[in-house]
C-alpha cells in the first residue's frame, strides 16, 4: 500500500522521494517514495521500533530536513526552510504528543497546557480569539475529563493516564492544523487506551485538525480513517536502526 498523492489544495502532508540518514555514510533511515495525508484526515501509522517512525515524525515536525526529496506540510515546503523558520512553523501549526514524560515537572497542569502560547504568537492569538487563555485551557481540560482542582496541581502529581490527557490538551490548545501523536497510549493500561483515543479523535474532529497517530496497538486501528504500515511505506525498512 503506497501513500498516494492528493491535489495540493487538500493535502495536509505531502512527501515525495524523501531520503534521510542521520550521519554521512550510514544507511538510510527513511526512504519514502510517497506519502499524502488529506486535511482533516485521521491517519493511523503502524510500525515497530527501528522502522524509522521517530525520524519520520521528526521530518514531519520540521526538526530535521531530508537530504533528498520534498516534505510539504500544510502547503509549506519544510525541506527548503531554515531551522528558525521550521521551529516557528512547528510552534504555530503543529501540536505534539509524546509517548510519555510529556510534561514539564516544575509547571502546573494549567501552565503546561498553556506552554505553546508562550512560544507561538499565532497559537496565543487563536486562543485569545475564543476568550481568555486560562478559561480556554480549562475548558479543554474539562472536555478531557480533567476539571475541578486539577489544573492548579503540579504536573508531577498526576497519574500517567492523566498526564497523557494533559499532553493532549496542550497539543490541541489553539486548534493547530496538524496533531502528531507518537505512541501516546503505550504507557496507558488497556482500559484507558480506548477512552483516550476516542477523546482525542473527538476533539480533532471538532477542530478539523489532521491527526497522525503512530502506534503498534492494532486494536485501535478501526477508529481511524486510514491505516498505513510503516515498513511497507518506508523502503529503508526494519533494518535501519536509529543512531
Amino acid at each position: 500500500m503506497t501513500g498516494g498523492t492528493l491535489p495540493a489544495a487538500h493535502a495536509a502532508i505531502q512527501l515525495a522521494e524523501v531520503q534521510f540518514r542521520w550521519q554521512a555514510r550510514t544507511p538510510l533511515v527513511v526512504d519514502i517514495p510517497q506519502l499524502a495525508v488529506a486535511a482533516g484526515e485521521r491517519l493511523f501509522l503502524r510500525g515497530p521500533s527501528g522502522s524509522g517512525k521517530s525520524t519520520l515524525l521528526a521530518l514531519l515536525g520540521g526538526v530535521v530536513t531530508p537530504q533528498h526529496g520534498t516534505v510539504e506540510v500544510l502547503g509549506q515546503p519544510l525541506h527548503r526552510l531554515g531551522g528558525a523558520r521550521r521551529d516557528a512553523f512547528r510552534a504555530d501549526y503543529i501540536g505534539y504528543i509524546f509517548q510519555m514524560f510529556n510534561l514539564i515537572p516544575y509547571l502546573s497542569v494549567l501552565d503546561n497546557v498553556l506552554l505553546p502560547c508562550r512560544f507561538s504568537r499565532r497559537r496565543a492569538e487563536r486562543v485569545a480569539a475564543r476568550g481568555d487563555a486560562h478559561a480556554e485551557a480549562r475548558r479543554l481540560l474539562e472536555r478531557l475529563g480533567l476539571g475541578g482542582a486539577l489544573p492548579a496541581r503540579a504536573a508531577t502529581e498526576l497519574s500517567v493516564g492523566q498526564q497523557q490527557r494533559v499532553a493532549a490538551a496542550r497539543a490541541l490548545l489553539g486548534g493547530p492544523e496538524l496533531i502528531i501523536a507518537d505512541e501516546p497510549t503505550s504507557a496507558l493500561d488497556a482500559d484507558h487506551r480506548a477512552a483516550f483515543v476516542e477523546l482525542l479523535l473527538a476533539e480533532c474532529a471538532a477542530l478539523g485538525s489532521t491527526l497522525v497517530f503512530v502506534s503498534h496497538d492494532r486494536a485501535l486501528e478501526p477508529l481511524f480513517h486510514r491505516a498505513l504500515c510503516l515498513t511497507e511505506l518506508n523502503r529503508a525498512g526494519t533494518a535501519a536502526a536509529q543512531p
Binding site: L57, A58, V63, G83, Y96, P105
Partner: protein, 418 residues
C-alpha cells in the same frame, strides 16, 4: 519574559540546590566586598587621625614605629627624648608651635597621655578639625584629667569623677598610684580617632605620679597632694613631640637638622610620609588578601557551574518537550544562561545584605578594639563594578551548560535517549 519565568520556576523546583549555590556566592561576595571595605576604611581611619602636624619628633627609632605609638597609641616607645632637646627644638625659628607627649601609663586599659594644654588647640584630625569639649575644660591643676569620649562613655565617668593611674599600660596593674587620684575636669567630643580612648593629663601630672619611682618600684611613703603641687615638676624626658612649622617648605631642612641633632639621636617624621610607608608595608598583605577573596568568589561560581552542569542530563527530556512546543535551540541556550545569571544575581544581592549586616554588627566591636571607625556608606562605583563583574562572569559561565543544552536539543530533536 517567557524564558525568565520558566527559569524561575525551574529553580524553584530545585530550590535546595539553588539555595546552596546562592549562599555560596553570597558569602564569597560579602567576603570580597568586606575585605576591600576594611582596607579602604582602615586607610581613611589612619589618615584622619592626624592633620596639620608637620613633624613628629622622638628618640631615634623607625619612622612607622614612632608614628604608631605617638599618634595611634599602638606599641610602646623604646626610649625617650630629653626635655632639653625638646626645648631646644621648640625654640628653632622655623617652628611655629610644639606640643610634647608623654606616654607609658594607663587607667583600666586606656592609655594616659601627658601633654600641655596647647595640645587641645594644635592637635587636628580629619580635614583640619579641632578637638572640641563636650563638657568641661582643659586641665590646669597637676591632678586634672581630660577624658576622650569613649573613655567617659565606657567607664561611665562624668565631670568630677576620681580616677587612679596605673603604672604600665595593662588593663590591670598590680601597682597603682593610689595615693594620688586624678579628677575629671573635661570630656572631649567624639572624634573617631585614638583620642577618644585616651586620658589626657598635664606633664606635671605624670611626673607627680612617678615621684619616688626612680628605683623602678613603688615608693614606701607617698607624698600628699598638696606637697606635690608645691614641687617643681618639670619632666626630664618625654616620649615624643608634635611640631608645626611657620612654613611647610622648611620641612625637609628642619627634618634633616633634627635627624642630625648633635646632642641626642632623634627621629623626625613627616606624618603623611610615614603613613604612606605604613600602607606600602601593608600593601602586599592587602593585595594577597584581595587575591584570595577573588579566588573564593571564583570557587563559588564554579560551584554554581557544577550544580547546573550536573543536573543537565536529567533535563534533556524537559528540553525536548520545549522544542516540541516550539522553543528554538537558542531559547534553550538562553534558558540555561539566565539560570546562571539569576543565581548570581540572587547570590550577590544576598552577599551585599550580608556585608551590611556584618558591618553594622561588627562596627562597635572594631571601634572598641582598634579605634577604627568604619563608615557604613552606600556602594562605591568600584564596588558596583565588582558586582557587575561577578554577574558577568556568572553569565559567561552559564554559556557552558547553555551550549551543551543547545547541542543536546539539536541532536535529540523531539526524542530523547534517556
Amino acid at each position: 519574559m517567557t524564558i525568565l519565568s520558566l527559569t524561575l520556576r525551574s529553580l524553584l523546583n530545585r530550590r535546595y540546590t539553588a539555595l546552596l549555590t546562592i549562599v555560596a556566592i553570597a558569602l564569597s561576595t560579602a567576603l570580597l566586598l568586606g575585605v576591600e571595605r576594611l582596607r579602604v576604611e582602615a586607610r581613611a581611619g589612619f589618615a584622619h587621625t592626624i592633620s596639620g602636624t608637620d613633624l613628629v619628633v622622638g628618640a631615634r627609632s623607625g619612622q612607622v614605629q614612632l608614628l604608631l605609638y605617638a599618634i595611634f597609641r599602638l606599641g610602646n616607645p623604646t626610649s625617650n627624648m630629653r626635655w632639653d632637646s625638646y626645648r631646644d627644638i621648640a625654640r628653632h625659628p622655623a617652628v611655629a608651635w610644639s606640643v610634647p607627649l608623654m606616654l607609658g601609663d594607663a587607667h583600666r586599659g586606656f592609655r594616659v597621655l601627658g601633654t600641655t594644654p596647647e595640645y587641645f588647640t594644635h592637635y587636628r584630625y580629619g580635614r583640619g578639625r579641632t578637638l572640641e569639649f563636650a563638657a568641661g575644660r582643659p586641665f590646669a591643676d597637676v591632678f586634672d584629667a581630660v577624658l576622650g569620649a569613649d573613655v567617659a562613655r565606657q567607664l561611665g565617668y562624668a565631670l568630677g569623677h576620681d580616677l587612679v593611674i596605673s603604672h604600665g599600660t595593662g588593663a590591670v596593674s598590680f601597682v597603682q598610684h593610689d595615693a594620688l587620684p586624678f579628677r575629671v575636669v573635661g570630656i572631649l567630643a567624639q572624634t573617631g580617632t585614638p583620642v577618644d580612648r585616651t586620658i589626657h593629663v598635664g606633664l606635671a601630672g605624670i611626673e607627680a605620679v612617678h615621684l619616688g619611682w626612680e628605683g623602678g618600684a613603688a615608693p614606701r611613703h607617698a607624698p600628699t597632694a598638696a606637697a606635690v603641687r608645691a614641687m617643681e615638676l618639670t619632666p626630664q624626658a618625654i616620649s615624643a613631640a608634635l611640631l608645626g612649622l611657620e612654613s611647610r617648605l622648611a620641612l625637609f631642612g628642619l627634618q634633616r637638622e633634627i635627624q642630625d641633632y648633635a646632642r641626642e639621636p632623634l627621629t623626625a617624621v613627616i606624618p603623611g610620609v610615614a603613613l604612606q610607608e605604613l600602607w606600602d608595608l601593608m600593601g602586599v598583605a592587602e593585595r594577597a588578601l584581595l587575591a584570595i577573596s577573588a579566588c573564593v568568589v571564583g570557587v563559588g561560581l564554579l560551584g554554581m557551574l557544577t550544580a547546573i552542569l550536573s543536573g543537565l542530563n536529567e533535563r534533556r527530556r524537559e528540553m525536548a518537550i520545549l522544542r516540541a512546543v516550539g522553543a528554538r535551540p537558542l531559547q534553550v541556550f538562553a534558558l540555561l544562561m539566565s539560570e546562571a545569571l539569576l543565581l548570581a544575581l540572587l547570590g550577590t544581592t544576598l552577599g551585599v545584605l550580608l556585608l551590611y549586616g556584618a558591618l553594622w554588627l561588627g562596627r562597635p566591636l572594631i571601634e572598641a578594639q582598634w579605634g577604627l571607625y568604619l563608615a557604613i556608606g552606600p556602594l562605591a562605583l568600584r564596588e558596583w563594578a565588582v558586582l557587575a563583574l561577578i554577574l558577568g562572569t556568572a553569565t559567561l559561565m552559564g554559556a557552558v551548560p547553555g551550549y551543551r543544552a543547545y547541542r543536546y536539543s539539536l541532536a535529540d530533536g523531539l526524542t530523547v535517549r534517556v
